[in-house]
Subunit: 102 residues, 2 copies
Amino acid sequence: MSKNNCPLHYTLNLIGTKWKPLILFHLLEGPLRSGVLQKKISGISNKMFTQTVRELEQDGLIAREVFPVVPPKVEYSLTDKGKSLENILRNMDEWGATFYKD
Amino acid sequence: MSKNNCPLHYTLNLIGTKWKPLILFHLLEGPLRSGVLQKKISGISNKMFTQTVRELEQDGLIAREVFPVVPPKVEYSLTDKGKSLENILRNMDEWGATFYKD
DNA sequence: CCGGATCCGTATAGATACTG
DNA sequence: CAGTATCTATACGGATCCGG
């Protein structure tokens, strides 16, 4: 990873991708079951979804809870660190709403 | 591009990458010559830099001005649309400062 | 000289089918 | 239902070359 003198670089290493902010944004309303969350992220592939939530979990932004039932049930939720991104995520959503046509 | 019901998706299509926010952030202070700007983005390759500023220009976030001199001189600056991202960029920088160790 | 275009080898993303 | 395996397509990095 390249070193940079600005903290923004650190932020981008955690959420500077196409999918991570979307996943975090949809978790702002509360925990979601894996399949439900994935369906909300339209266009993401199965592989990228799994890979991305793993990275978010490793970086401490989301928590993963496995319920030992059949059929399998997994829930994702925001950690405190993840919740602290709420302002940024909502700002990005609002900015998009300002310029998005149709 | 996948369709999504939230405007956040639109935002991420414009700035949801590793480099775009960094470039925009460094232009907040004013226009910069191409080489100077690139040096500030530590770790970016020549190819990615050129490609990324082209995309930012096409999306109307930055402006590119070419001076017909020798040696060549090119300056990049934020458009009004680009400037409207200032809050988001500074928030991301501040968030990184909060969690960044060393 | 500076900005950036091109070429090629590697790495990462994406689609699909499959397993417990 | 959640996640993995495999294969293909695309994105990326680095070196090199080019025009002004």
